[in-house]
Amino acid sequence: MGARKFGPGSAIGLAFGLLFAVFPLFWMVSTSFKPSNEWVTTPPVWVSENGTVTNYLVILWPSVLLEQRGGLGQYTEEGEVTAQRATESDAVSGAVADFLTKSAWQSIRGSIIISVLSTMLSIVVGFMAAIAIARYRFGGNVTPFFILSGRMFPPIAIAIPFVVMFSAPGIEATDSYWGLILAYAAVTVPFSTWMLKSFIDELPQEIEEAAMMDGMSRWEAHIKVTVPLIKGGLIATSLFIFILNWSEFLFALVLTYTNVETIPVKLSKYFSATSGQQYGIQAALACVSIVPLVIVGFFIQRHLVRGLTLGAIKR
């Protein structure tokens, strides 16, 4: 079996593709370490010679930043500065509004709570739906198809009814964690159902049935036999749904105001009429936001294996 020839043409093609894929990442990281006067220049500054962590301090530890400036003002333990304005000489100068003295912790916490819980909810509901469809032919051919219907509209068409529903007296779910968790679960269940269904379909039904004959109830068979056998699929699906939730912007924007905030919404606030164009800070938060995904992805990649059913059946 001869290896395919790797000629200069392929090398150039690959290099170009790589550049295309990696450049935005590079630019994001690079910008996050630039002082504000280098964010937008002609010619561009590729890698700053005056590298600074100020941008990170703004979003993560503004208290340190303020301490450096002479410990102005008072701030709470969470690092939120109260009644304090940044001075003219700040690296992040200009129209630095109050919110800049506010850290990104609220949005990081919000994103983690909402993404984790809504992913878990979506996987649990999706798994049960997938079992019902794959194993009990629930809804015939109709349900599996129309469960996707929620994804057939532009998201904004779904988001607005959510606002209306969530604003109803007695529900009042806007600007709450559980509201956004429910909304995220609702829109990701079609994905988790279909992905998990495909993993369940690959598993011979007889394995679960053998477990029932051995003395397990239907629930036990699905929980104790099916779940371990589609573990890889569950992890892959969870990761996929988690990424969707982690990066979701529209719902978070229209369903939250001040109590609850997620990273994508926070990112958008560094670029607005009132705040100016805080590219460096925005880049720093973007860099921070991908860290959890990279870590999670790294640890679970070995679970993303196939062929778990090898040997179960004769072929």
């Binding site: 007889e206 004959m213 003395g215 397990m216 778990l308 179960a312 059946i313 072929r315």
Partner: protein
Amino acid sequence: MDEPLLQLRSISKNFGSVQALRDLSLEVPRGSLIVLLGPAGAGKTTTLRIVAGLEAPTSGEVWVEGQNFTKLQPNRRDIAMIFDNLALYPNKTGYENVASPLKLARMPKAEIAKRVDEIAGLLKIGHILDRLPATFSGGERQRVALGRAMVREPRFYLLDEPLSSLDFMLRIELRTELKRLQRELGRTFVFATPDYTEALALADTVCVLLEGEVRQIAKAQELYDEPADRDVARFVGNPKINIVPGRLARENGTARLSIGSMNLPLPDRMEHGLPAHLSEVEVGLRPEHVRIVPSTATETHRTGIVNDLEPLGMHTTVGIDLAGINLALTVAGVQEFNDGDRVEVHLDTETLLFFDPISGRRVGN
């Protein structure tokens, strides 16, 4: 204990517009080995799945030991089943696979170990108990699946084509072993197979399923000698039974049978068994009932021309054109014929089978 262990009462099963089973009734006595015999799609697996509780019948009832089991969940039925694809737990070792039903029954660990040990000895799987199914050979997988069923003492066992994908010699070996186990342990087996030799070799009683219907329930030999209809006769036996159109004529109390240009007298006994109104019949001749004889022609001898030869070692299948009708017959050993040879053929009129050409039912004795 006259009451049957398992009783199926007029079971029907529809999948959408397809009728998989039609009015199936069957009784399985305690300690017996019943074989469901039928080609693929006949409804064997559906029948077993209904008995197991994995599928609900559209109508009809499943009774076990005098209790109506029709609506009972599978895990409450205490029935063991071996699936046609075996369905081992791929993430569990051989030991865990075999021990699983005992563990679920909350048997003490020491007792489980003892029982698994016993059954592993019986099935010769001791050496693979600590390995995962992926490393098993086909025969080993088969034995572990068997072990998982045999380790407990359920009311009875359902076996769905458990030997089908094994190679020929292994199949025969395991078949013999299964029969021995069943006899020795005095257990009740319901065994599904499309292979009539397997059915005849194993069964106390064979239940022939064709197109979702029970066509015949009979002892193995009876099935071969006295098939209920044309389809059963065709399904049981290799080489396949010869079925040719014939005409009955009755003159002065004696009956004669015409097949093609042949005209044969029928034994009285046989003639009396045939309905008087019937003149057109289909005649079944088992290949071993057509013989090649020395050329001393009597009335039942005819000259045929050899047109096909299949030497199979123990016997040879010979195709013969007999007065315009093609017949297959078997002769012992390998015999010296060539295509186109003329041979004398004797038809054994005592063993002829007659079928109603319209209903396909067997008629006469």
